[in-house]
Structures are given as C-alpha cells and as structure tokens.
C-alpha cells in the first residue's frame, strides 16, 4: 500500500493507533546492552507465557491485543539491564532474568501489581516508575524520547508517536527555503563534535549551482566510550530518517547515504528494516506522499577505520576508496560525495530536525543555552554508579551529570577526572566540575563535547596511562596521509610508553609539549589536530603524576605494572617460602616460619609472588 496524499496519511496513522491500542504493553529492551544481558531470552519467554493466555495476541498488527510484547530500542539505563517496562503502569524492572517472567506475567500483567525486588532501589528508596528514578528524572529526553518506548522493528509504533508528521508539515506547508530558515534560526549546531551551525551548512549546499546533491548521515561513531548514535539508530531509526528527508527536501537532494560503522550490526539491521518499511508505504521513494519530492536512501557499512568519521574520508569511503581526508577547501558543502554538494550531518543532528520543524525555532531556542540550544545525548560510562545513555539540556554542569544522574562514583571511591569528547577531547578535574557543558564553555577550558562520550575515572586511574591509551588509539587509527599525524603521534606514543614503563627522561615533558604544538598546528584534518588534546589536558591537570612517574619511578595507582612495588604484609605472612621459591629473580628472602621480605632492587615486577601467595599477604604498595 502506498500513501498518496495527506488524508491517506492521516487515515494510516489512525489505523496504526487502533492496532496499537493494547491494554498492556510489555517493552523489553532490545538494545545492544540488554540483548547482551539476555533480553532476547526474556522476550521469547514472555511471548510464550502470553501465548498460553487465550485472549492474548503477541503478533504485531493484531486488531485487539490484550498484551503486546515488543522489542524496543535502548532505554539507556544500561548498567541495570536487562530492562523491562510495563505500560500503562509504567513499571520499570531492572536486571530481569527469564526466571522472573512467570511472576511478571502473573503479578503485573494479570493483577497489575508491581514486584518490588525487580524495581530500582537506591539508598533505601524504591522507585516504581521509570520517571521517578533519579537517573531519568534529571534528564530532558527529547531526541531519545521514543527510545525504549516504541517497537523499533515496526514503523507502526513510530507512526503512532508522530513519526513523519514534521516531514508532512515541511512538504505541504513549507518551502525548502523556509525549512532552511527555520533550522538556521533555531541555531541547531552539529552534534558530531565541532558544533558547526546546521542551518548554515544547508544554506551553503542549497546555494550551489550544481543541481545533483546528496544528503549523508555520519553514523560512524568511532570514539571509544560513545554510543548515543547507536542507540538512536537502534531505538528510533525513523526519527533520524525523517530528519535526513527534511534536509533533502530543504536542499533539493535526490539521494541519501547512511554510513554506519560495522561494529553496529543491530543498528544496520534496524535501519534496513526501517527504510524498507518506509518504502513500502510510500514515505521513501518516488513522489513521496503524492508530491514532487523523491528521495532514495542507502546504507553503507563501515569497514573499521576511525578516520572515516571525518567528512571527506567518509565520502571517499562511500565512493569505494581508501578513507583518507583531503585538503580543504573545497568543502563538503561545495564538493562532497562524488564531488557534488553534500549535506553531511551526524545521527543526533538529524534526529533533532523533526521536532524543530514541528515546534518552531523559538521553542527550540528556549531549551539549553542561547549559543548552544537544545539537548545533548551523552554516553555516561566508566567508574560511575549508573552508566548509560543520557540526554540533558545544554549548559548543565558536569557535577549534576555525574552525581545527580550518574549517582556518584562506583564502590565509594573518590572522583579523579572525567574524560569528555573521546580521543579529541580532554580530561577535566574536580575544579572544573561546575563548568557548563555546552560547545563554547567547554572549548574555553580545553575540552570539547566531541561526540559525547563521558568516561568517569576514579582515584585508581593512572592519568599518564590514560594519556598513553588515547595516544595509542590515535596512533593506530592515523590514516598516514600527513606526516605530523603519522609520525608525530608515533613519537608522542613512544615517549608515553617509555614513561609508564619507568624509563621516562626529565626532558620528556617538554618534548611532549613541543610535539603536541606541532601536530595541533600542522595536521591535515580535525582528527590529527585534536590528537594531542588528551595528553595536553592531563599534562596540565596532573603534572605531579607525570613527575612522579619520571623522577620517582612511582605510580601511585598501581596501574603501571613496571612501576609497581610489591610488599609483604608482615602480620599475615606465615613464612611458607612459596613466594621465594616462585620468584624468578630471586628477589625474596627470609627464613622459614618468619615473615619474608622483597628486595626491591632485584624485583622485576612480574607479580608471580602475589599470584602464588596462599595467604594473600602480598600486595601492591600505594
């Protein structure tokens, strides 16, 4: 069935609503996180259980369904998965196992009661509904609104919550120019990292002489520690597709490409399904909804190259070439994919578009800060109590995010730093926790929003090692086209490796700074230019830690194995001699039945003694 006009679209929407009117909905999180926790088994089990009930239909599209079991996209509360949400009660059950299903069916679905042990508990309080849980209560979920609440495998669920109504408005009530104007006025800025104004990009593409234009979506979310885009693609694919279509209408493009990294197989599958279903009802294809607007969408799978997140490398990869950035100008808006004018935005940016068109620029400007309006999705991970996907208004402070939403540091440890923006960003410390999170405020303190990864680190994290980790990432992912990045990152990595191995030299810090300066000012693309950032920011904030590694040959956290100092607890040691017999360097001395001791000069830091000790008397000195 193809929808030919507005009236038919309205009818289709009502029809979807009718079909969706189930008394009780069981939403089982089908995001990568919960699937890994076994949500698939829960889904099967719930299907089975509800099937035995004569009144229950589990097939989608059944006319009157009493219960509906659906696989939704990510709810975002990944630490607590697998998650199951029951509507209309809005109970959110955490860490559900297939063994709980029977009880959920009996108590909650049949009797409408909650099961307390499956609800979220924090500091003695029980939270029955999702909305009350502090993790969610402090958030403003606009882009992620439907993630976890709709069936991501079927277009009908999305239609009920208004998918493609912004497209409808754009096609029937607005000109391409007025769409661009609205996005321009809303001051929407690119969520991919740099924060370039989306409306300006679109304007530039629309003003090109060349009439063949492309709309490309960057779903190559390669920053380690970030998964917001994955969750949008998995949980609400139609929102992003709608955003791309509005962009295509605005700049009069005929074809679009979504570039998704290969590590996201579920996102690819959901997008393929979404595109197929949209084509079936005539929302994608020729003469969309009976208008003159035609648009086709393709998916390209990445092949494992971080640099393809850079615009010109991404388009080269779609063309079937090595994904390497090129010198700009010409910019992507002038000569992008196949040298045609191209709108290239990130997943989250497109996902913002429909609600702006729907509610207007004024409304959007009312959220966040004037210079960075709207919300931003972050992946909150690392040593924090509640990890997961969050969405907050721009301008919120880091402290609110880490303590109010994240629930503070895991295992009662002390906060040390937060890494923001992945390999292009920096580490912020306690002192900066009250700074605002928006494009400009973060830039001022040497960090960036980047793609939105927030990795929280506790006191047991070695910052020199973190710097080495990021440098080894960028070094490995450097495409090798320009010398500053190819050679510079390699040299910086060598220095950092030497420092964590205990062979640091007093001149190393100056040398790191000099190399960083050179790479920042001369690398070809944004990835190279920002590569030294994690090193510089840790050098600035944790100079003392670097000094200790280099001069005292000491790593307080015990992370750097070559700098560890093993010690024997004299009170626990029984003098069994097992450690001495197992020490390959003969560094442990003592007499049977009295405590042994380690000769630090001879010790090669292998840790064999600690592994062998039957009394756990050997530990790493702090």
């Amino acid at each position: 069935m193809k929808i030919e006009n507005r009236t038919e679209l309205k009818e289709y929407r009502t029809e979807c609503q009718k079909r969706q009117r189930a008394k009780c909905r069981v939403l089982i999180c089908g995001g990568t996180g919960c699937l890994a926790g076994g949500s698939d088994k829960i889904y099967q089990k719930m299907l089975e259980l509800t099937k035995n009930d004569g009144n229950v239909s589990v097939e989608f599209g059944a006319e009157i369904a009493h219960t509906k079991v659906m696989k939704s996209g990510c709810h975002g509360f990944c630490e607590m998965g697998p998650l199951v949400r029951i509507e209309p009660h809005n109970y959110l059950y955490i860490k559900v196992s297939p063994d709980d299903c029977e009880e959920i069916y009996q108590k909650t679905i049949c009797e409408g009661k909650s099961i307390e042990r499956l609800l979220y508990h924090m500091d003695g309080q029980v939270y029955a509904s999702q909305e009350e849980i502090p993790f969610y209560a402090k958030q403003t979920r606009l882009v992620l609104k439907n993630c976890g609440h709709i069936d991501a495998d079927h277009i009908e669920g999305a239609m009920v919550v208004g998918a493609y109504s912004a497209l409808e408005k754009a096609l029937f009530e607005m000109t391409p120019e007025s769409v661009i104007d609205m996005i321009y006025e809303s001051n929407l800025r690119g969520r991919g990292g740099a924060g370039f104004r989306t409306g300006r990009k679109w304007k530039q593409v629309a003003s090109q002489k060349e009439k063949i234009r492309y709309v490309v979506c960057n779903g190559d979310e390669g920053d380690p520690g970030a998964f917001m885009d994955r969750s949008i693609m998995e949980g609400d694919p139609h929102r992003m597709i709608e955003g791309m279509m509005i962009a295509a209408y605005a700049v009069q493009a005929q074809e679009g490409y979504i570039y998704v990294r290969a590590e996201y197989p579920l996102a690819i599958q959901r997008l393929e399904t979404a595109i197929h279903q949209a084509e079936e009802i005539g929302i994608l294809g020729d003469h969309i909804l009976g208008t003159n607007f035609s648009f086709r969408l393709h998916i390209n799978r990445g092949a494992g190259a971080f640099v393809c997140g850079e615009g010109s490398a991404l388009t080269a990869s779609i063309e079937g070439k090595r994904g390497m950035p090129r010198v700009k100008p010409p910019r992507t808006v002038q000569q992008g994919l196949w040298a045609k004018p191209t709108v290239l935005n990130n997943v989250e940016t497109y996902a913002n578009v429909p609600m702006i068109i729907q509610n207007g620029a004024e409304w959007y400007l009312g959220i966040g800060t004037p210079e960075s309006p709207g919300t931003k999705a972050f992946a909150l991970t690392g040593n924090v109590r509640n990890t997961g996907l969050i969405e907050v208004p721009m301008g919120i402070t880091l402290r609110e995010v880490i303590y109010d939403i994240g629930g503070g540091i895991q295992n009662g440890k002390k906060f040390k730093a937060v890494q923001i923006g992945g390999p292009s960003g920096g580490c912020l410390t306690e002192k900066q926790l009250d700074s605002k999170m928006d494009f400009d405020s973060l830039a001022k303190i040497g960090a960036m929003i980047g793609s939105g990864g927030l990795v929280i680190m506790d006191e047991n994290t070695c910052m020199v090692e973190v710097a080495r980790f990021f440098m080894s990432f960028t070094q490995r992912e450097s495409c090798g086209k320009c010398v500053p990045c190819r050679e510079g990152t390699k040299r910086m990595l060598e220095i950092l490796e030497r420092i964590v191995a205990g062979n640091g030299k007093p001149t190393d810090i100056d040398e790191l700074r000099e190399l960083a300066d050179m790479i920042e000012s001369t690398a070809l693309c944004g990835l190279g230019k920002s590569a030294p950032k994690p090193v510089i920011s840790t050098l600035n904030a944790f100079a003392e830690e670097y000094r200790e590694h280099i001069e005292d040959k000491k790593c307080k956290t015990g992370v750097c194995t070559n700098l560890r100092q093993f010690q024997i607890d004299l009170d626990i040691c029984k003098g069994c001699s097992k450690c001495a017999r197992n020490c390959p360097a003969g560094a442990i001395e003592g007499e049977l039945k009295s405590p042994y001791h380690i000769n630090q000069e001879k010790c090669i830091k292998c840790g064999a003694c600690m592994e062998q000790c039957p009394f756990k008397a050997i530990s790493v000195a702090r």
Partner: protein
Amino acid sequence: MLDTSYYEKADEIIARHTREERSLIPIIQDIQEEYRYLPPELLTYVAKQIGITEAKAYSVASFYENFSFEQKGKYVIKVCDGTACHVRKSIPILERLYKELGLNDKKHTSDDLYFTVETVSCLGACGLAPAITVNDVVYPKMSPEKVVDLLKELRGE
C-alpha cells in the same frame, strides 16, 4: 588457485551489486562474511570483474581494519578496549585469553583454527564494560575468570 566454488560464490555476490568502484567495499565485505576472511585470490578476481586495478583494490582492502587476508578461527573473539572498558580493566581479560590460547599480539589465530582473538576500539556497549564479543554476540561484564569459562563452553560445542 582456489577451488572453483569460491569463484562461483564470488560471482553470486558480485551479482547482488553494481559493477563499479563504489561496490568494491560492500562486495568484499560480503565475501569476508561468507569465509570469515578475504581470500587474496578473490580480491584480484573482484577487481577484474568490477573494472578496477588490482593495486587499487588492494590499497582499499589493506586500508580498512576489518579486512583480513588470513584465515580466521571458527570463533572470532573481539575484546573491547574502548575507554570505558579500559578503565574497567579490559587488558587482563585480553592477556588471559592470549595465555589460555597460546596467542600474542602478533599471532591472533590458534593453530587449530578454532579461535581468533582481536581487540576493538569500542563496541558501543560501554554500559556493560568490560565487554567482549564472540562472533558478534556481546558478552557483558567480563573478567579473566569468566573468559576461561566461556572458552570451555565454546570448546564443548
């Protein structure tokens, strides 16, 4: 020279795409999915079929990390070493796998062609750190001990 069945399979895959440069990556991705690696002979063959030089095809295939010219094990284990997994101690898991399977950072596949161990930068399953995948199925919150159990389970099949 490979068995003719390989070329027939390649023909079948090529037929699903257009014969032009832009199809190179999708085609060799499909081939790799079929054989768990990219036989070099097939890369040459594909290049010819879609009308690009062998050198060009090789330059592309060797650029992207996902393509492997060497045969991989039945179970491809990817250990995530993204930031979140790294700070929640992913390296001890990798080291344990290396030790158990007699592998190292140069040798990724066990001699019996049963296991391949690789690292990836981020699987996007940061909420479940440290995570690993076995043939694309995510195993959350791993530890060196759990990984040993997992190997046993996989071997038992």
